[in-house]
């Protein structure tokens, strides 16, 4: 096949490979979550991967190193996560969709240039296959304790988008969504999964390319002399020009004006930071995805995300048998947090139960959204395993009494 080696020898951003979808492995597969993430990225047109080995995320890099060279892409293992994050930003500015994958310790390093990605509005995807933490923690086990790190880990004020898959199928599907959101809103988007989902092997159905919706780059139609790199559209997102197309644009991590030039004044700082925040806040309804079950007339609602959502149903079923009116709300996008929806529901819901594999992170967001209107209870777990459904059931019983 000509397409296979053509990519690397010539430019990998050739028109051909964007049209060519033979890279999508249509059909049913038995894949690990990590593999499904790599395949989801490829299906979303990702053609550049830079990373550094780390348990339990290494399988993503391994899969990309196997696949990318034959579909016109480039895989590079860099010297560390600082470099990996910098490299995917660089690749993205050539118009190539790019991804990196890591676990907590690596994410700590990537958050440096994640901030640069936020400031320069660079589309890309960062996968965090969470392990038990802090520090080296439990490398071969899993946790959900990096939720707030992803939200606040880089310095400064910003908004983030993060998706939390709970199965191998969702690893595939949500990775495509992550790429689409990153292109649409121009920022690095997180996939916050964990070592259990990443290493769990399940059935994954890859649909035909025509059923996969891929959001392309928001490229400017203006000629170079009229183009301002940071002039926002109506949804507050500026259109992009790629390196090498004659725009000769400047981009900086410094506070900058619409031309992309450094302008370290209070007025420009105010305009820029408010826009960067508001492009997510004002479009939150378009970004936020939650899954609700039996929520109408529920007295108790269990809020969960990621792998914990796999444990919740058995606790809920048991509570239902006791006659408790109980619903489930699952966060598919953890960030931005669906505060509006939870606030609305708090008018009727008497109590909220939040199981998570940490000692209380997302529960704070639920408390903030609920206010004093109803009870909020955490079911904590320090990491290394999922909850015993019995523990969740007990808390459900307690809060309703």
């Amino acid at each position: 096949m000509e397409i296979r080696s053509r990519g690397i020898r010539k430019s990998i951003v050739s028109e051909r490979h964007y049209r060519d979808r033979t890279s999508i492995l249509v059909g049913e597969h038995f894949w690990q979550g990590d593999i499904a993430i790599a395949e989801g990225a490829i299906a979303a047109d990702c053609r550049f991967f830079a990373g550094y080995p780390i348990t339990p995320a290494s399988e993503i890099a391994e899969r990309m190193s196997l696949r990318l060279p034959f579909i016109g892409g480039v895989y590079i293992q860099l010297e560390d996560e600082l470099a990996s994050m910098a490299a995917i930003l660089g690749a993205s500015w050539t118009g190539t969709k790019a991804m990196t994958a890591t676990s907590g310790p690596g994410l700590s390093l990537m958050l440096e240039n994640f901030g640069l990605g936020i400031m320069t509005e660079t589309p890309c995807v960062i996968v965090n296959v969470q392990r038990g933490s802090p520090s080296t923690g439990l490398p071969t086990f899993f946790g959900q304790a990096d939720m707030m790190q992803a939200r606040w880990g880089s310095h400064g004020d910003y908004e983030v988008i993060a998706l939390a898959p709970s199965s191998a199928q969702e690893c595939f599907d949500f990775t495509i969504t992550a790429f689409n959101l990153s292109e649409k809103y121009r920022l690095p988007v997180f996939i916050l999964t964990d070592g259990l989902v990443g290493h769990m092997t399940e059935k994954v159905v890859v649909p035909s390319p025509s059923e996969i919706k891929v959001f392309g780059r928001r490229k400017t139609k203006k000629p170079p002399q009229e183009y301002l790199p940071y002039e926002p559209e109506a949804d507050l997102v500026p259109q992009m020009a790629n390196f090498g197309e004659g725009y000769r644009l400047h981009t900086t991590g410094l506070t900058h004006d619409e031309r992309g030039y450094p302008d370290m004044t209070i007025g420009t700082q105010d305009r820029l930071i408010r826009r960067l925040m508001n492009k997510i806040r004002q479009n939150a309804d378009d970004i936020i995805i939650v899954e609700e079950k039996d929520i109408e007339d529920a007295d108790v609602v269990v809020v969960s995300y990621g792998v914990t959502s796999r444990v919740v149903p058995s606790a809920v079923e048991k509570a239902k048998r006791d006659g408790i009116k109980i619903g489930q709300l699952r966060l598919i996008t953890v960030w931005p947090f669906p505060e509006k929806r939870i606030s609305e529901l708090s008018e009727k819901v008497k109590a909220w139960v939040v199981p998570e594999i940490n000692l209380g992170q997302i529960v704070r967001e639920v408390e903030r959204s609920v206010g004093k209107r109803s009870k909020v209870a955490l079911v904590s777990h320090a990491g290394g395993d999922v909850h015993d459904p019995e523990d969740i059931y007990k808390v459900i019983k307690e809060v309703i009494q």
């Binding site: 951003v13 590079i76 860099l78 470099a83 910098a86 690749a91 901030g115």
Partner: protein, 281 residues
Amino acid sequence: MNEMNNRIPEHPLEQYLRMDRIPHIWCSGCGLGTEITCFMKAIEEADISPDKIVVVSGIGCSGRIAGYMKFDSFHTTHGRAVPFATGVKLANPELTVIVFSGDGDLFSIGGNHFIHAARRNVDIKVFCVNNFIYGMTGGQVAPTTPLHAKTSTSPYGCFEPPFNLPYLAESSGAVYVARWTPLHIRRLTHSMSEAIAKKGFSFIEMVSPCPTVYSRYNRLGDGLDMIKYYRENSRIENGADTKSIPLEIGKEIVVGKFVDIEKPTFLDYQTAQVEKNEAKM
């Protein structure tokens, strides 16, 4: 003849400068002005469309270079210019990617990235402005500060041995290594042209005056005094053994082109490896 043709250019190389950002922030007597002029001349001589050039900088005085160059230009975070440039080059090999940054950025916080990019022979050009000090933050000691030199954080004299940059670059795998000063305008320009045309990881060290900080701490005079110093103390020795040319206080500055070899790049190796596998399938 229309009005445009009669216009006297504001700068002879204005097509490569963001004139709407001039005047720049650099001090008078700084080497950066001369060095970017040499760079623009090298670009003018090169057979490359300015639209296909990407300039990447890190943080610091030299980090601001990207902001004044009218190419696709990116001002990255501290130390990360080299991996950013690696991503640009690998994702679009048609582009000529130049990292223009300082000694602290490239060899302290970015040191690991530098040696690995050289080892892999990624086809990027690294032009290092070595002024022996962290200028923008007020003159702190750097991994290039010569032994015994004074800085704001080595008030009794520097007690750490510095890197010998050409030696580090060569031993890490660079295919082109040179060192010049802003005195050597013609040779530096020529060297930049060669590096730009060269396929593979190319490195040029520019020994640079910092009259505001380094020279003041070490009583070396102003920018002109430093150029005089370079004239009296530098010696051209092309092909010199890079191990033998460290920069030491009171010793001569050996300049020249030290390394110019051919080696497959990262993408050459990757393509060959993939093709070998494909043939087996």
